[in-house]
Amino acid sequence: MLKILKYSIYDLLRSRWSYVYFFFYLVLAFVLFFLNNDLDKAITTIMNIVVILTPLIGTIFGVMYYYNSKEFTELLLAQPIKRSTIFMGQYLGISLSLTLSLVLGIGIPFVFYGLFHSAAIFNFSLLLLIGFFLNFIFVALAFNIAVSVDNKIKGFGYAILMWLFFAVIYDGIFMTLQMSFNEYPIDKFSLVATTLNPIDLSRILIMLKLNLSALLGYTGAVFKEFYGSALGFFVAMFILFAWIFLPVLRLKSKLKQKDF
């Protein structure tokens, strides 16, 4: 598996998109510091971008890589290598190289502006951790779609829809429900509904760490009580892990039956 991983990363590091992605974060972070020299504010702004953009890029990279490396995959399938090893190697390769772009892209400016001498380092680590999870989750989901749909255009469409669902539509439905059931105690429901969407969960986790929960009103207080506790944080991490684990599991079982 390490060999496949090595070749996938090598392959991706030669494509210019990894660099475009890296430079995007680099420029973004430097511009934010140029405009405002406050680490915490910069983290808040970047968080808002990271929770939307990393899933989108992870999704697009995931499906694109799968369809574009079809030839490479077929070459590998005729070699004495286990099927699941090939795909796990590729999956880890993309997820790691995307995470690397993210960590270096926003890491360098932060270090440059004195991250290690400030208290913001914990919030910053959380931001990176969330970025890591979102990359791994959405690349896994994208791979699932690509494996199930042989038509490239359709697969791409479904992948974008999937991202749109988690990033926008889910919130829309959630808000509509909250509005219509305004008169009932729905804080428990909100808590569960937020937990089930990895993007929402990531956003809430960072907002709470940055003490922005006051913006959320009464629901924010419920969130703070739950996720602020060690148990809540543990549950959140567990769910993020499950979001990686379950798609990978499905991917593996799907691959066993697939014809190339």
């Binding site: 060999k3 392959d11 070459l75 004495p80 014809d259």
Partner: protein, 235 residues
Amino acid sequence: MIQIEKLHKKFGKLTVLDGLDLTIEKGGIFAILGPNGSGKTTLIKCLLGMVVPDKGEVKLNGKSVLKQWAYRNELNYLPQIANFPTNLSVKELIAMVKNLRPKAANEQELIDLFGLNPFLKKKLGNLSGGTKQKVNLVLTFMFDSDLIILDEPTTGLDPIALIYLKELINKAKQAGKTVLITTHIMSLVDELADEIVFLLDGKIYFKGSVNALKKQTEQESLEHAIANLISKQYA
């Protein structure tokens, strides 16, 4: 060497292999023939584990290969269309395949034979179809395995490369290896094949020597004999 028992495979509603039985003994050159879409490639891919059959058994040297992977070290496969990662150079690709297989390789000899030295540093995306096929042949023949599977090996090759390819195949035969070839070029079959396996409607329609086929169909040339077999499908 190869035993295939009651192999079934459907793609959606299309039945490609319909209870196919085939036994191939060790040593010799076997030509797998059949009209377009008769399941030649599917049969080979079942043997390689790239296609998962619905029913049936595939055995190599007495051991089932279904859901296995280590056995692929004991066979060399030439895919039908030479699709390679476009941003790798020829040298990197060869190094990569060598790295993935725990086996000694004699690639330099083959690179010299096919005159690929000037192309070693070029990206695979920039090569012509014929040159890609030569690279494909190097990748296939550089390992020493008892079973060699060639899917349309002649595609895009110039006459000289074709002569070298025939030599390579004959050499493999003399070394006691088993070679499976699918092709539509009958002169190649006539020249090389010890035995013909003819696929029709997902089953083996004929298996035997070239002469036996000519006798059975009462045709002088192999081309007409095969045409005679195929025409039954159109009738």
